[in-house]
């Protein structure tokens, strides 16, 4: 009870403009900038205590296990270190010189770049078209939504195991081609370096496109129907409405999806590691920065080197993320914290 007055001022303060909102303004007797009541001091200490207790555990866990390891990596990256005892063999930037002069690392960089671009180019347009189609009021929409999301819910290990059995030379895909009379198209889907990256792209698209569709559908449902109704009354055709009204309003969702997709492409590990393993991946042309890191670091006992690769990955991801946020996401992300829900 003691801070119920303070409560109101706080609530009032949260809408900075101070415009009376419809129906909500009646309680605000004093203008937002008015001096606070006398209980302010105790209320403030109490609030500080609550904030500390409520945010403390999450922040500590987050800093300790997400942020701190990245700092650790930067430290260990300067050492040649096998992971036992304290690191003593300081090598300066030598690990980084080795990384950037290793042709295998150049390979993984280009693989990651290919995966990044192809993921956007393949999944984006297909998912938008599918979302537009499925956004109509058709029967069985719920069932369709569940079914197209299935690949996303299944773990990478299962997807990898299933697809590698299907794609192996004596697997179901080649068997199916044989059965329908297209035996000439049989191929070594996983081991042929010209084909393997495309097989990977098929698997990635298959696994993640459902997520894009669901995300876009969610975004489409946030667009008021009145807009397209009004346009329809004005004589706009279905495709005109989609192109002029729906797609621009879907923009923020598409940009967030692209961001998630880019980050995911840079971090890709599970599928490649499960299907190809660390050795075959590099000969088949599907190795990524992450499989390189695990293969050259932990699996060969070179923890110093592995950490240096982690730092390189981190810097590349951060740079791309920041550039993307700065130039593309900025207008979308300004809202959530600065504005109260409209």
């Amino acid at each position: 009870m003691s801070n119920s007055l303070g409560e109101k001022t706080l609530a009032g303060q949260r809408s900075p403009e101070g415009y009376p909102e419809a129906g909500g303004g009646t309680h605000r007797v004093s203008p937002p900038v008015a001096p606070r009541p006398t209980r302010r001091r105790t209320g403030q200490w109490r609030q500080r205590f609550e904030i500390a207790v409520l945010t403390g555990p999450a922040i500590i866990v987050f800093l300790a296990f997400v942020i701190f390891p990245v700092g650790l990596a930067a430290y260990y990256g300067f050492y040649r270190w096998q992971g036992y005892g304290p690191p003593i063999d300081f090598v300066g930037l030598n690990n980084y010189f080795l990384i950037f002069s290793d042709p295998a690392f150049h390979d993984v960089l280009s693989h990651n770049a290919i995966i990044l671009v192809l993921s956007l180019v393949i999944q984006g347009p297909v998912a938008i078209i599918l979302a537009l189609l499925l956004n109509q009021k058709i029967r069985g929409r719920t069932v369709i939504r569940v079914l197209i999301f299935v690949p996303y819910v299944i773990s990478e290990v299962i997807v990898g195991t299933g697809w590698s059995l299907m794609l192996q030379t004596s697997g179901a895909v080649n068997g199916f081609l044989q059965n329908i009379g297209l035996g000439a198209l049989k191929a070594n889907w996983l081991s042929d370096p010209h084909i393997a990256i495309w097989s990977l792209m098929v698997i990635i698209s298959w696994k993640y496109i459902g997520f894009a569709v669901i995300l876009f559908l969610a975004g489409l449902q946030g667009i008021p129907e009145e807009l397209s109704e009004a346009a329809a009354i004005d004589g706009a055709s279905y495709w005109q409405i989609q192109r002029r009204i729906t797609l621009p309003l879907l923009g923020p969702t598409v940009r967030i999806w692209a961001f998630l997709s880019i980050i995911g492409s840079l971090q890709l590990f599970d599928l490649v590691y499960i299907i190809w393993g660390q050795y075959v991946a590099s000969t088949a042309g599907t190795s990524t920065m992450a499989t390189y890191m695990v293969g050259q670091g932990r699996n060969s006992g070179n923890y110093g080197y592995g950490n240096a690769v982690a730092v390189v990955m981190f810097v590349i991801s951060l740079t791309i993320a920041l550039i993307y946020q700065r130039f593309i996401l900025r207008r979308d992300t300004a809202a959530p914290i600065t504005e109260r829900r409209k």
Partner: protein
């Protein structure tokens, strides 16, 4: 929707949208069916493959079971490996979910409903966490977990998973908690509830849809996670299902049918969870996207 159709009938351009809808529906169904078929074919391959024998698979890799054979599934279900790994995955999944929901709800409540300096900074800290999936931190994280003596224990998987699931949780929950009208908070305060009382008695029940969303996402994330258990868990007795699937498929690499049976059984729980709660997940994504 009723109003739409009446409007279009009345409007000058009425016939056109109506016709385009009539034309496009069969096409929509067709495309949806093709898409669903493509989505489900590999899953069906795994499930049906489990009902075949190895000789059937060798003779015709893309065929259907004939005759159907439940032996592989029975072998897996009566063995101890599968159930032990289900148990480990369940412990890891439930603990991660509870931890994420409790910690995430506490911090999101403060970010959504308290006004203080540093609020934006804390939000930005968690939002930045979205950019760093576990892969980039795994090598040093492994060393950290090893130094804490948690290697080869489920706790060593659970705690980092909580930390890495917090960003998504905060991003989804904050808009949810902001949407609770101030009037409810004021009414609770007038009735004598403290901020914490308001959190426990009003916010938690009102935020149940959001809590379920983040809970399910955390659970499925934990159930499916691979790289962290791969680094942390070395003893087969501690394996979670993804590690188990991989170990099983290399151990029985010649017994394809059994591998397929094991694989399809291990994807059931996540699928069942998702099917039951799909509305919540999609709803939660809508909230997150709209911000």
């Amino acid at each position: 929707m009723m109003s739409t159709s009446t409007l279009t009938i009345d409007g000058a351009a009425g016939p056109r949208p109506r016709r385009s809808i009539n034309w496009s529906h069969p096409l929509t169904y067709f495309i949806a069916l093709v898409f669903i078929a493509v989505s489900l074919a590999p899953v069906l391959y795994i499930v049906l493959g489990g009902f075949r024998t190895n000789s059937q698979i060798t003779v015709d890799p893309a065929g259907l079971p004939s005759p159907w054979n439940v032996g592989n599934y029975i072998d897996v279900l009566t063995g101890s490996t599968f159930w032990q790994e289900v148990g480990n995955s369940t412990i890891a999944g439930v603990s991660t979910t509870v931890g994420v929901v409790v910690l995430g709800l506490m911090v999101s409540f403060v970010l959504a409903r308290y006004n203080f300096r540093g609020r934006g900074a804390i939000y930005a800290l968690f939002a930045a966490g979205l950019m760093f999936p576990i892969t980039v931190a795994i090598t040093p994280l492994y060393i950290l977990v090893k130094d804490l003596g948690l290697v080869n224990s489920l706790a060593g998987v659970i705690i980092p998973q909580i930390a890495f699931a917090l960003p998504t949780t905060v991003i989804i929950l904050v808009p949810f908690l902001k949407a609770i009208p101030d009037e409810i908070e004021e009414a609770a305060a007038i009735d004598g509830a403290s901020r914490i009382g308001f959190l426990v008695r009003m916010v938690v029940p009102l935020a149940i849809p959001g809590i379920i969303t983040v809970g399910i996402l955390a659970f499925i994330g934990s159930w499916n996670s691979y790289i962290l258990p791969l680094f942390i868990l070395s003893d087969q007795g501690n394996y979670t299902l993804p590690l188990g699937v991989q170990a099983f498929s290399s151990q029985y690499s010649v017994d394809t049918a059994k591998v397929l049976a094991f694989t399809s059984l291990s994807m059931l729980p996540a699928l069942a969870f998702f099917t039951v709660f799909q509305r919540r997940i999609v709803g939660g994504l809508t909230g997150a996207v709209k911000g």
